[in-house]
């Protein structure tokens, strides 16, 4: 699976995901990359000072069941975010610990794995929105890269 999140020069956010799915999958099977609320999510406030965009990869059936991208969006849109600060690190830890540390069915199923790249808007100096990039995963590794028109040389890393 591959994915992207972007913040454009009008302050709008977008997210996307694309996947070939599972090796030896049934023909006709779809994973999180096709399902609303599962593989990607993007939202922003009218003032454009708050918002998030995320792209997800991992065990499709678990991610679809949990609607992972959407619950991250909803968790980050909690009332505290109206003027208060949401602890994004805590939200990611909580969601991943709740949803992706136990197999859903105890038939020796592999551990459900997931990873997310998340772009959020934070309040910088003089209350302007500034970007912050997050990555969380329960798999062995996740490959990420980022760049901006201000710093066009991409930074890339295979996080482990």
């Amino acid at each position: 699976t591959v994915g992207a999140v972007a913040w454009d020069n009008e302050g709008n956010l977008a997210a996307g995901v694309s996947s070939g799915g599972l090796l030896l999958k049934y023909s006709g099977r779809i994973g999180e990359a096709a399902v609303y609320g599962a593989g990607c999510w993007a939202q922003q406030s009218l003032s454009k000072r708050d918002g998030m965009a995320c792209s997800i990869s991992g065990a499709g059936e678990h991610i679809v069941r949990s609607g992972l991208a959407r619950i991250l969006g909803e968790a980050l849109q909690s009332p505290e975010s109206d003027g208060g600060e949401v602890d994004i690190h805590q939200v990611l830890l909580q969601v991943f610990n709740q949803k992706f540390t136990e197999p859903l069915h105890q038939r020796g199923e592999l551990m459900p794995n997931a990873g997310v790249v998340l772009l959020t808007k934070e309040r910088g100096e003089d209350d302007e929105a500034v970007p912050r990039l997050w990555c969380a995963f329960t798999t062995e590794s996740m490959a990420v890269a980022y760049a901006s028109t201000r710093k066009p040389s991409p930074k890339v890393s295979i996080l482990r």
């Binding site: 977008a14 995963f137 062995e140 996740m142």
Partner: protein, 184 residues
């Protein structure tokens, strides 16, 4: 308001072994660079930046999307893709799609198409799958290919390895695919 455009991409959560690490890294860097370049020359909307970046990643055989995707039990490529607009909340996706070079471009076309109700006042679909999605691609002028052109030599080797184990388990053991093969 900042006029800077930001992009972040990922190549999947799972197992990235050393042999392919450099290929994955260069694909991710190319995706960032070309998406930003496209945004400064053409359409700088966040959706367009996402679409450009993911199209580059879909064309790379070392990543599990587009060309080089994992193969189905039948040895074919069937892709999923989605895009979401933070400003409007609009969403577009395709599923189990064959024969389209860049599934993310079709997902984006579905999003644009679903913004307005149709002439009968019906809400248009935000997800299209399989042959219906392919037909929509043709109607929108999005590049279609012969399905087999999406199958990479590397994907065939992986498929042959695990399909033969599936068909001929040694000592009657249950074949357990590597965790990475079990993830999107």
């Amino acid at each position: 308001m900042s006029t800077t455009v930001y992009i972040a991409v990922h190549g999947g959560a799972g197992y990235h072994g050393v042999p392919s690490e450099q290929n994955v890294k260069s694909a991710l860097k190319r995706a960032c660079a070309q998406a930003l370049q496209h945004s400064s020359l053409h359409d700088s909307s966040a959706i367009s930046v996402v679409e450009q970046a993911i199209s580059i990643l879909e064309d790379d055989e070392y990543l599990n999307a587009g060309y080089g995707s994992n193969l189905t039990i039948d040895g074919t490529v069937e892709c999923d893709a989605a895009v979401m607009d933070g400003l409007s909340g609009d969403f577009g996706s395709v599923g189990a799609l064959s024969g389209v070079k860049n599934p993310i471009q079709l997902a984006s076309a579905v999003l644009r198409h679903s913004r307005e109700p149709d002439s009968l006042g019906r809400i248009r679909p935000m997800t299209l799958v399989a042959s219906g999605a392919h037909a929509f691609a043709s109607s929108q002028g999005i590049q279609t290919v012969i399905p087999n052109e999406m199958v990479s030599p590397r994907a065939i080797r992986e498929w042959q390895k695990w399909k033969s184990r599936l068909d001929h388990p040694t000592n009657g053991d249950q074949v357990s695919l590597p965790q990475d093969a079990m993830q999107d």
